[in-house]
């Protein structure tokens, strides 16, 4: 896979900072990465850093066919502070993180 292409697709997102309140759901939109011959073996893995948010037991909204998943995730404010959602690109054939693709980092500020 072309690291430069994947990097460009992953980082074409405008909103990188979200705000929420304790107990509220925060819907985080990822850049729509099209599922194509170039991204056939691309896997996106999401890591949450920090304890200001938690994973709620709710369905995340899918966007049908044509995109690499996830295209959106949901977090819930747990306590005041800042958490980060980091999206990394992996090669699904080797299960290794793609060299040359910077992770996408999105911050979530949670208020009382």
């Amino acid at each position: 896979m072309d690291a430069k292409l994947i990097e460009g697709l992953l980082h074409r997102v405008d909103k990188r900072h979200y705000k929420g309140r304790v107990g509220e759901l925060v819907y985080i939109d990822f850049p729509p990465v099209p599922f194509t011959r170039d991204t056939e073996f691309l896997a996106l893995k999401v890591e949450t850093i920090g304890d200001a948010v938690e994973e709620p037991p709710v369905e995340e909204r899918a966007k049908g066919e044509g995109l690499v998943l996830p295209s959106q995730i949901v977090r819930r404010g747990a306590k005041p502070g800042t958490s980060y959602v980091v999206v990394r690109a992996y090669d699904s054939l080797t299960q290794e993180e793609m060299a040359g693709v910077d992770p996408l980092k999105i911050s979530i500020d949670i208020e009382k």
């Binding site: 990465v33 099209p34 194509t36 896997a43």
Partner: protein, 321 residues
């Protein structure tokens, strides 16, 4: 080979003693999960999410229209060992770097129907179809991604034009004019669409379900092609060129990493790994001259939903996009 609890019960009742393998399978089935056999091991089917089913409106459409399992479906007792409609298709297209697979799968189905039922060779505009689908979704034409079954609804309400009136562009080109309207000629020529269709839900391994390979064989042997939406979890094809279910280190089928739409145009049952012949939209040099061979187990495990078209229309009322 997919196994249901009923089938398991039938097989176990013929044995004097259950094996370890039987017990592991029983454990999976007892949790109300279906199982498939991959590389000699039984693994559970991944439960489908709510998003992977038809919504309530779609279910109403699916109930109201043929075919039903024992209704308009062809004679399922006598499906041939193989069916291949690939020679009846229009050329394999290339969606390039956009997530427009639903447009390509849907229009491939319409083009084949026009060619074979109406004797009409037509190359329909995927660019126009994506404008239309995204318009219905409240987005501009640079967006993509759509639930496959919605395409059937949209194409029965609005038409698309021929390719030469609104040619397909790659992502870089289309991004220069996301909000532009199609030409007047393209809008005036948007008369091609669906007259009648049937939706297929992912209801499991039995009945009129996208995961029931007997049912899909029925439809294909009856002359239908099947537009289907699927999870993406394949790896490289096996030595026979078939894309099959892959397992993770815990022995479970790999999780989905995306969604894709393609057109099922045939099947081959009497081989080591039975497979469906699937028209993709990644150009003619992909896999088998542009067609994938997806194993039956893959479709059982990862198929989400789909639709078939009964009637091609050339007189959809023109409405400005």
């Amino acid at each position: 080979m997919a196994i249901s609890m009923t089938e398991f019960g039938d097989s176990i009742s013929r044995k004097s003693r259950a094996t370890e393998e039987d017990l592991s399978l029983y454990k999976i089935l007892h949790e109300n999960r279906n199982a498939i056999r991959v590389d000699g091991l039984f693994v559970p089917l991944i439960p489908l999410d709510e998003e992977d089913h038809l919504d309530e409106d779609e279910k109403e459409v699916a109930r109201a229209q043929p075919p039903h399992w024992a209704g308009n479906a062809p004679d399922c007792e006598a499906t041939p060992p193989s069916v291949d409609h690939s020679e009846l298709q229009t050329p394999v297209r290339d969606q390039k770097d956009r997530g427009t697979c639903v447009c390509f799968a849907s229009l491939a189905c319409l083009e084949a129907l026009a060619k074979n039922a109406e004797n009409l060779e037509v190359d329909l505009s995927e660019q126009f179809a994506n404008r239309l689908f995204m318009k219905f979704s409240g987005k501009d034409q640079c967006a993509d991604g759509l639930k496959t079954t919605l395409a059937a609804k949209y194409l029965s309400e609005r038409g698309v034009c021929k390719e030469d009136l609104d040619p397909y562009e790659d992502l870089q080109a289309v991004t220069r004019h996301c909000s532009d309207q199609p030409s007047q000629a393209a809008q005036d020529g948007a008369v091609y669409g669906i007259g009648d269709y049937s939706l297929i839900d992912g209801l499991g391994l039995l009945g009129p379900s996208i995961n029931n390979t007997d049912y899909l064989e029925c439809l294909l042997s009856g002359g239908h092609d099947i537009v289907f939406g699927t999870h993406v979890a394949w790896g490289l094809p096996d030595a026979n060129g078939v894309h099959d279910v892959k397992l993770d280190t815990f022995g479970n089928p790999l999780a989905s990493r995306g969604g894709h739409a393609m057109l099922i145009v045939g099947y081959e049952r009497n081989v080591q790994t039975p497979y469906f012949i699937v028209k993709n939209s990644w150009g003619p040099d992909f896999a088998h001259r542009g067609y994938m061979h997806l194993s039956y187990d893959y479709v059982r495990q990862y198929g989400k939903y789909g639709y078939i078209v009964h009637q091609f229309r050339t007189d959809i009322p023109v409405v400005e996009v």
